[in-house]
Symmetry: C3
Subunit: 210 residues, 3 copies
């Protein structure tokens, strides 16, 4: 039950990020609904396909359609993100990331996967929705933006959920605390421009390569 | 049987749209075959994975390979779309959209999914192939082009198929009529530049956002 | 056992290509690990989902995570590709392509698919990782670059593996020979700029179309 609520909240946050991106790119209201649905439901559908337990929830339970509809509507009505699409997008994206690394890992654990595999799948669920959103809108994914950290907080969160589960001390309060931690790290990393080393240890080579 | 024929026709139309895009982008003949295959078969493979009934048809029945091969050949020989790639692409894409929202919904209903879920999956099948085609060719998907309506006719068509099925009045003639309706709406929307409201109710904010 | 080793080697080669692309694009070290993982594991995960035999290996066997970690580390330490990212990327990509068209086809045959379907899935596995890598990094896929041949050697290799398997003469030595042939054809095609006919038989129309 708690898992369902957290999952729906995560879907809502990612769906808002998708609808905000649609607004920023001047897509129409249906494009907003579809990009929000892809961002909100894409990671979970991929996760459900990978754990191989039948038809993904998003296609069996109509409840999963409410968050994207609500998100597209709120963005359309300018309740959310009217002035600063990009900043609002990043904050909602961070909230989705935080919730999905928790719920994704829990879903995988509930399906009987190994704790390490479950944490991996939790990370894939958390970064998957935003990745699909950006790829489909033909943008370089936030995931690869070297300003701020994105996957690292999700890895930490998913790892902690798996660890606490193995230790038998996981409960909804712990899960919420982990999500808050992930969200805080992501937002602080954006605020203060945290960086980790580049893939090739250089900054200028990229534009001069062969 | 009728379903198979309509499905193959839909695959052919989407495959032509993929091969035309390949020609427009100066890809080679094998790139044309692959982009056509992805456009024609991608939506159906995703649908089959989601309904979880074993290996997708495109990988078990070699018949499914004929439409993409034929499409790449016809585009190569300039039988199709020699002068106006973009317009021809949109017309074939519309035909694929119209057939797939019908066959996608029927396949999901046949797999025992709920009518609402089936209509959703029909929409996903219908827009999925074109989405994959555009994403893989690094273009902003037609789906998000605010000029004309794309997903709305597919939603209408998939919804009608589900409704008629529930009412017990669905038959091949009804299915064909729905496909013709979807195709007509899509083409008219392009011809007359129909628009629906933007995601954020503004037209100029996109280029000025934070 | 041989299959596992060849599969891990293919994952490593594709992962290096992903990490090199990350370095070239100035992504950070975690982006490098994720792009390498996607390039190395993406094709195989898609293949495993299509053959419908439960959770994909990459999510059950932690061994599959070693090659991407190693690849990101080697690229970070400049052991690989320090000066010429693009050329090194293409060579590692070719090696991954060569191994994956062999292991992908074998995996599908082992799952009981028809030899023709198995060859198809082998091709999809071989081109899938590189396609995901390029799409996610917002680049036009190598697969569609008309300079050199990409899918053709993979089709030849997958076809030969299926044929030899049907004839009952497949063994690890034959598999390695096929992989060497595919790799050699791919690299020679880049070196000498081999081209096959364009999708639309013209070179200039693309930029002038309607």
């Amino acid at each position: 039950m708690t898992l369902l609520i957290l999952d729906l909240a995560g879907i809502f946050f990612f769906a808002v990020s998708g609808s905000l991106l649609a607004a920023r790119r001047n897509f129409d209201i249906v494009g907003s609904l579809l990009l929000g649905s892809l961002a909100g439901l894409g990671g979970g559908v991929a996760r459900d396909l990978i754990i191989s337990q039948g038809v993904p929830q998003a296609f069996t339970d109509p409840l999963y359609l409410l968050p994207p509809v609500l998100a597209a509507l709120l963005v359309f009505l300018h309740v959310l993100g009217v002035q600063r699409y990009r900043r609002a997008l990043l904050v909602f994206d961070a909230a989705g990331l935080a919730l999905f690394c928790v719920t994704g890992t829990l879903t995988a654990l509930a399906a009987g996967l190994h704790p390490v595999s479950s944490a991996l799948l939790g990370v894939a669920t958390a970064v998957g929705g935003g990745l699909l959103r950006d790829v489909v809108a033909n943008e370089v994914p936030q995931l690869f933006n070297p300003r701020g950290v994105y996957a690292v907080p999700a890895m930490l969160g998913a790892g902690l959920v798996s660890l606490f589960h193995v230790l038998g001390v996981f409960n909804p309060v712990v899960g919420t605390a982990v999500a808050v931690l992930v969200f805080t790290l992501r937002v602080l990393s954006l605020r203060y421009g945290w960086r980790i080393p580049l893939a090739g240890r250089t900054t200028g080579a990229g534009s001069l390569d062969s």
